[in-house]
Point group: C2
Chain length 418, copies 2
């Protein structure tokens, strides 16, 4: 069987599974998720054995210790995956809910109803816990899933999927609801993302190269989880103590994530007061600052920021710093250099707040709060499959609702069109 035939066969199986998943009620799906969690814990040793193979290969390939750590599965991490499955079981099932309902003058009753998307493919890198998380969210929303993890975690992913499938089967999960691509051949990705009519959505989660390749090759809809070049703008009307607290949090609390701030913009009228303060505090915390000319005049300790820096997602204790003449200039900078992810204004002026929230073209716009809150849990969605940087279908944190679509169910009494 060629790679193409193999992927087509997976797609066909997923379509059949999706039709069966539509029939499952919430209680049944929750039982399946509980059984998956139990099976995962019962098979912890098997999973760790498989993980050892990946770890050995990772060492041999010379993966960085950070990457090796992301790959490693311990008892604690396996328990935490199982706990995640049980938490998804506890969430509200959005499938089958009426989004809206209206009656037309001719008596037709239209109900816009939430339904599964169908077949979803998630293409991801490195961390094997994504396998369990993603499978759980898709099962909960009655979507069939085809998972394509990184080659470095193939053994771990397979062992996790086997546990999920074994647990699920005990409670009547349809066959092939969860499938894992068994080959490390990169061409499998191209084959998958061209399976029009079989796969309804592909979600790439990983580095820029992966996302770009998927976007270029895809003939099916893609929802990108792209980088976050997030900004905090400190207005001249800001409470500067609050601004200090927020900038520190947005940069330092967890610098390696997409909702951490990468660029600080400060209004010129408060820059002489605020920039030395915030710089002192950040430098103490180990942050490298890169400033524009105006910022460096006030804080000579800053390195110079070049044009490319404003586009940079550092994911590290590095911060670009710019001085702007007005809130409008801040918005201009953010819309130009940002990635439409999460951006904040710190201001007491309602006018500046309103202008900022209206004109900044980002999935989440904050007033007087840290950008770090862009997250499914923090938003109260309970869980997320990622944070969409696209504008279509899902924007920002993608929870269970975003893994559904809708259909119109129309009841009549024999109406025909005039």
């Amino acid at each position: 069987m060629s790679l193409h035939e193999e992927m087509v066969a997976m797609g066909d199986k997923a379509v059949v599974a999706a039709r069966e998943l539509v029939l499952l009620g919430s209680r049944k799906k929750n039982n399946i998720l509980q059984a998956m969690a139990d099976e995962m814990e019962a098979n912890a040793e098997v999973i760790k054995e498989s993980n050892k193979k990946d770890m050995a290969a990772a060492k041999e390939a010379g993966l960085s210790s950070a990457l090796q750590d992301r790959l490693l599965l311990t008892d604690t991490r396996i328990t935490s995956m199982a706990k995640g499955l049980r938490e998804v079981a506890g969430l509200k099932d959005p499938v089958g809910k009426a989004i809206s309902r209206w009656i037309r003058p001719n008596g037709l009753e239209i109900v816009k109803t939430r339904v599964p998307i169908g077949v979803i493919t998630v293409i991801y890198e490195s961390r094997p816990n994504v396998t369990a998380e993603t499978a759980a969210l898709c099962l909960k929303t009655s979507n069939a899933i085809i998972l394509r993890g990184g080659k470095e975690s193939l053994h771990s992913n397979k062992a996790i999927a086997e546990a999920l499938n074994a647990g699920g089967r005990k409670k009547g999960m349809p066959q092939n609801a969860i499938q894992i691509v068994q080959t490390v051949d990169r061409d499998a990705i191209r084959e998958l993302v061209q399976l029009e009519g079989k796969i309804d959505l592909v979600i790439p989660r990983g580095g820029e190269g992966l996302i770009r390749a998927v976007t270029e090759q895809a003939r099916i809809p893609v929802i990108k989880h792209y980088k976050g070049v997030c900004h905090v703008y400190v207005d001249e009307t800001a409470d500067l103590e609050m601004a200090l607290r927020i900038v520190e949090n947005a940069k330092c609390q967890r610098p390696g994530v997409c909702n951490a701030v990468e660029t600080l913009l400060v209004h010129e009228s408060i820059a002489p007061q605020f920039l030395p303060q915030v710089s002192e505090q950040l430098i103490k915390l180990g942050v490298t600052l890169k400033g524009d000319a105006a910022a460096r005049e006030l804080v000579p300790a800053m390195e110079p920021a070049n044009e490319a820096d404003w586009y940079e997602e550092y994911l590290d204790l590095v911060l670009s710093v710019g001085v702007v003449a007005s809130p409008k200039a801040a918005v201009g900078h953010i819309n130009k250099y940002g990635t439409h992810h999460s951006d904040a204004i710190i201001a007491e002026s309602e006018g500046a707040q309103k202008m900022f929230t209206k004109e900044v073209d980002s999935s989440t716009v904050y007033v007087n709060a840290s950008t770090r809150f862009t997250d499914g849990n923090e938003f109260g969605m309970g869980a997320e499959i990622g944070i969409s940087t696209d504008k279509l279908h899902a924007r920002g944190p993608m929870g269970l609702e975003e893994l559904t679509t809708y259909k119109y169910i129309v009841h009549g009494k024999g109406q025909v069109r005039e």
Copy 2:
């Protein structure tokens, strides 16, 4: 300037226009739409002159009289376009509306707010009135638009766009809110649909070839308006008089549109009674019937249906007819051969109705009504840009709401993440 540079420049201008469109309030947008309508009527002679050039070329190229008719602009048609613009002015503006609002335990207030998508490209064929319709719907939702019509209607489209722009300018419409691709070079389409970061959405409206080309080339999200292979299933519990009326309406009231029925499926237990009746009625109305073996046994006047016929969108007075053993078998047929557009069950049995609406994977599923109601106006949306056959973002009739996305506006009082 190369074609690539030309399209990039259009994209850049559209991005600027989109930022300005965000600032317009509903009243201003409605005034712009009214002024466009006035200008269109005032320039009827100019538009007809331009249309004459297209008509002459069409005759020379030997376009069918049907296509020539679609291309023709008369005073009545121009008045009707202007009326359409005024109707859009009268619709509710979805932009800026709160979709939902909640407060988190930490006091953060999250408002999910409807916002424009940004820059939309519509690629269409033939009918020049699409130019006015589409521009109006995008303006109303504060989206900038790049229009790429068929080469056969270029002069007409340009004249219409000039009237729209002239009218709009009088009331402060941002420059370049409505742009028309000025070249008939087909490569312009490829260039446009690869303008990531500039164009947010492309909507192809036209034949299968056009849609396929766009899907294969696009690196930006596409919402397809694809064909409708729609079904009516007549259950053994159907009110047969109602079934007759609905089948006739769904097939004959306007056979050339995507929500007309193409396949009739009849339960075997009522086929001996129903098929001869419905066939007699349809044949009288000029319909050609293509039946499977069981149907032809009951109605020998039918031509034989082959496998390819079940996939066929006839858009004509032709109907495929099949006999099925159960409602489940009807659903299986529809999900296999259909295009997930509009499908109906005629049945009194609530069990059959529920199974059908749950399991048929189509944008609109009808119980005891004609498939012909899948339409923005019939749904009460007021206007539509088309009928999406995709599952992501917009499914079924696409009205104003479907031309928007959302962002989260989060208000805090200095909250930081723990």
